[in-house]
Amino acid sequence: MTYVRSTFRHPALPKNDLGYTVDYYEGSLSTLCAGCGHDSINAAIVQACWEMNIEPHKVAKLSGIGCSSKSPAYFLSNSHGFNSVHGRMPSVATGANLANRDLIYFGVSGDGDTASIGMGQFVHVVRRNLNMVYLVMNNGCYGLTKGQDSATADAGSKSKAGSVNLFEAIDLASLAIELGATFVGQSFSGDKDQLIPLMKAAMKHNGFAFLNVISPCVTFNNNPGSTKSYDYVREHVQITGTMDFAPMMSEITASYEAGDISDITMHDGSEIRLHKLQKDWDPLDRFSVIDAMLRAKQKGEILTGLLYVDQDSSDLHEMIKTSERPLNSLSKADLCPGSEMLSEINASLR
């Protein structure tokens, strides 16, 4: 890690529509290891939010415990953050979201935090279709406690010390789709071009947007024989398609090679333009996605990109009919039935 940050900013740094330069979206200095995949993901978050003209104070960052969960300190320093307890970020995010439906909720977790201690809360937040981005920085190991295998480590993957993992891996993206997640993306920390549009689309999705991002641990799980090393992942990534994201009312300007292009319109009118590279796979069709993922797994490949999206998703608030006004903005006049009603209640109890 570095411990000095330059305060010099080029005077001509471009500004977004809100008048902010990209550094306004940065966080405090990362304390993660040099070369950690997580830092690349954090940089992608910063870039995506800047490009999307997101007001930082309209974002809440939430996490559990672990290297990944330290991340919220390293992006969006002008957003409130909640670094909670191990495996429990989904419940904290659920409560926070119930209190104020108007913010963007960005949850950051790791493979230990989600696939082991937090599995119970993870599967239930998927079921509830909470309107949030849930990003797993997946490195297949426990970094903060020096590299033990996690539940997403592939069977047969070799650790730095040379031992081979015996147990089947939990595939979080497949699981999320199985559970009815309404937006599932998978990516690699080294592929910023893919990550940024994925994050943008995830933030615009109306419901639970799950991003499983393979993020190699340079210190404990980047050795030959590990299936979560930079080299291995680069060799085995199968990109489902390249994509670009255009917020509502703006035009998609990216140029594409000739091929199978499809546009996906999101809840608020934003558009995802997808350039499909995989045959027999349609991100709007769960069956084809599950099929494609199983085939990829059989071949030892990692399918990346926007895997699945349900454009008509209804989030938790819509399902339980919560007021459009954020609950935390309601006043006593909205909430308290008052003494007259209480007299009626008393009368009914005699």
């Binding site: 909670s84 429990r88 419940s91 926070a96 209190a99 919560t322 007021s323 459009e324 006043s331 308290c336």
Partner: protein
């Protein structure tokens, strides 16, 4: 003749509809203006096991349980042998005589009241479910005659109960009449125990503690409830849901001004509460001991990261699964010190449904004022039984104390360093108008005497600028560029920045200790009864025969809380009748303030009444006050049934 002073116990089979029939009985006595207290003694089972409903009728207004049963309504063959033995000498044994009693039921010190309930019922009704349900109504009818319950009162209740389903009224009344007629034709009515109309209840109500907590949360402005089902707390959220559906649906949009989530477990339930509270909504959960065990981790986070949280613990019999449907006050130490590290939490001890309502509202104010978890310590007896209680009161001028939450304007003022220095005279802590929502930046935050200049131009989440240990917080989304910070369970400095610096850590936990001192005088204070009160009510002239004349009592004290209150206060009267006068303190909250400490210091011997085996409250006093163990005498009840005055009276006399 025992008029308005007896105990009836109904011995039923779980799941046969007896609960609503038995409740009719209680309500009828209540409506005749006579103090009455029902206790459900039920199994952890949905159908088939024995269940009892015990009703004490007490002209003197004693609402605790009493030992001994004057009249047993024995309609459960499974438990009949024990039920028979439990009738006190001179009492009555009412049973279904459709089949003869087995041999051995031959006590000559009690009176048998045989009524062929099944035969009477089957002769009148053909439907199987009706036959089951109306058997209960028939014995209520019989009781009306046997105990002089006014029939018109029962009729009125039936009419209310089946409003909208009028065709059910007639068969219910018919069943009541079958009972009345059979009793009149076959027994001398009334028996030697009877109810006589009085006007002893004024405007009191009959209500359960769990319902009162749920209603209190609605009045307190709670908008997010997250919970996981567990007996005996489930009906707290049921009540919140019921009242919210009635009072919290926006009439224009039809949308809910509240959200209820049934979580996947208690860990998630309290996590949701903390997320919501952190984000500026009033939020709560309700659980029982096993849930509190699971919530320990989050409670520690709430304490250390300073997140307001309201937790309602409806205690049941532990340890482990214990007896899930029986009562106890055995989570005291668990709740007081929940979680690892140096943690402690304010506890509230309501003793009546009215106090459940009030303290739930107080709990939200305290949690936000203190920015910490506050735990309501109620129990199964209080929560799941109906109690006669004073009418609920809500002062419309009461505002919600949202604590030290900074608005966008205040944030601007902090950062406009020069301007901030002009503010002065710092006694006003109310930085937010309690009538406004947290994000309603309507200019109503112009309070006098803001201490904001002490931030010296920079907001610090954990600065103690008021010297009370309570810092200022901001809510996400409040200000476009100022006031953001990361809430975390790890150590941080005054500006919310992660640190492992020992000095910064110590400054922080010392500030939390200072906040604890502030809490001592903010929480509800104890209620005191001096021995003089009892001396005036029970002067020597009215003392009973066996009174011990020469007990010096000024230095004797009694401490009790929660549902031990009824039994303790009745026992104090029993003792006073014998010329033994004690000072009493009903504890309403933890931590203990000055008046609590004074009471302990000024008494040589103190009886501490509580409902657990290990005298947990006494331990708490020893830990927190360093109280001398030799002067704290425990009076304990822990068999899962509510404590009785008889037990308290006996134990105190034994140790005088």
């Amino acid at each position: 003749m025992k008029t308005n002073d007896f105990v009836v116990r109904f011995a039923n089979v779980n799941g046969t509809g007896s609960a609503s029939a038995n409740a009719l009985f209680t309500k009828a006595v209540f409506r005749m203006g006579v103090p009455v207290t029902p206790k459900n003694i039920f199994p952890s089972n949905i159908q088939g096991l024995p269940t009892w409903y015990e009703v004490r009728v007490s002209e003197k207004g004693h609402l605790g349980r009493r030992e001994g049963v004057d009249l047993m309504i024995a309609v459960n063959p499974q438990s009949m042998k024990k039920d028979y033995a439990d009738v006190m000498a001179g009492g009555y044994f009412l049973y279904d005589s459709s089949k003869p009693l087995p041999p051995g039921y031959d006590r000559d010190d009690i009176t048998h009241v045989p009524i062929p309930l099944m035969n009477l019922c089957n002769a009148e009704f053909t439907d199987a479910r009706q036959r089951q349900l109306f058997k209960n109504i028939i014995y209520i009818g019989a009781l009306s005659a046997l105990l002089d319950l006014e029939f018109s009162v029962l009729e009125g209740q039936i009419a209310e109960q089946f409003k909208g389903k009028e065709k059910l009224i007639e068969p219910n009344i018919r069943a009541l009449n079958i009972g009345v007629n059979y009793a009149r034709e076959n027994f001398d009515c009334p028996l030697n125990i009877r109810v006589e109309r009085r006007d002893l209840l004024g405007d009191k109500i009959l209500f359960g503690g769990n319902s009162a907590c749920g209603l209190g949360a609605v009045y307190a402005g709670a908008t997010v409830a997250a919970w996981y089902p567990i007996t005996p707390s489930t009906s707290v959220v049921d009540a919140f849901a019921k009242y919210a559906a009635k009072y919290r649906v926006d009439p224009e949009t039809g949308k809910n001004n509240y959200a209820i989530v049934q979580a996947e477990d208690e860990l998630a339930a309290i996590g949701m509460v903390m997320g919501a509270s952190w984000n500026g909504a009033r939020s709560f959960t309700a659980t029982s001991g096993p849930g509190v065990s699971l919530m320990n981790e989050f409670l520690g986070l709430g304490y250390f990261a300073e997140v307001p949280t309201v937790l309602i613990d409806v205690q049941r019999t532990g340890p482990s699964t214990g007896m899930p449907t029986r009562t106890q006050q055995s989570d005291i130490l668990l709740a007081a010190y929940a979680s690892h590290g140096d943690t402690k939490h304010p506890l509230l001890f309501p003793a009546s449904p009215k106090e459940c309502f009030e303290m739930t509202a107080d709990a939200f104010d305290l949690a936000e004022r203190l920015q910490t978890p506050v735990i309501m310590m109620t129990d199964l007896d209080l929560g799941m039984n109906d109690h006669i209680t004073d009418p609920l009161v809500w002062d419309d001028s009461r505002t919600y104390d949202r604590g030290k939450v900074l608005t966008a304007k205040q944030m601007d003022r902090i950062y406009a360093a020069q301007a901030a220095i002009t503010a002065s005279n710092g006694n006003g802590h109310d930085v937010l108008d309690g009538n406004s929502g947290l994000n309603a930046d309507d200019g109503s935050d112009e309070t006098a005497g803001e201490p904001l200049e002490q931030f010296r131009g920079k907001f610090g989440r954990y600065l103690d600028i008021d010297d009370d240990g309570i810092p200022y917080r901001t809510i996400a989304g409040t200000h476009a560029t100022r006031g953001a910070f990361v809430t975390r369970g790890s150590s941080r400095d005054e500006y919310g920045v992660y640190t492992e610096d020992g000095d910064a850590y110590r400054r922080n936990v010392d500030r939390l200790a200072k906040k604890w001192e502030t809490a001592k005088e903010l929480v509800p204070q104890p209620e005191f009864h001096s021995n003089e009160e009892y001396r005036i009510s029970y002067p020597e002239s009215v003392r009973s025969e066996d009174s011990s004349s020469d007990v010096r009592n000024a230095e004797l004290g009694v401490i009790y809380f929660g549902t031990s209150t009824y039994a303790a206060e009745e026992a104090l009267e029993l003792l006073a009748e014998e010329g033994i006068y004690l000072d009493a303190m009903r504890v309403r909250a933890f931590p203990f303030g000055k008046s609590f400490r004074d009471f302990v210091e000024t008494h040589d011997r103190i009886f501490v009444i509580e409902q657990n085996r290990d005298a947990q409250f006494r331990s708490l006093m020893m830990i927190e006050l360093g109280a001398d163990s030799s002067k704290l005498v425990s009076v304990l009840n822990y068999d899962g049934t509510p404590i009785t005055a008889d037990l308290v009276h006996r134990c105190i006399k034994l140790r005088l």
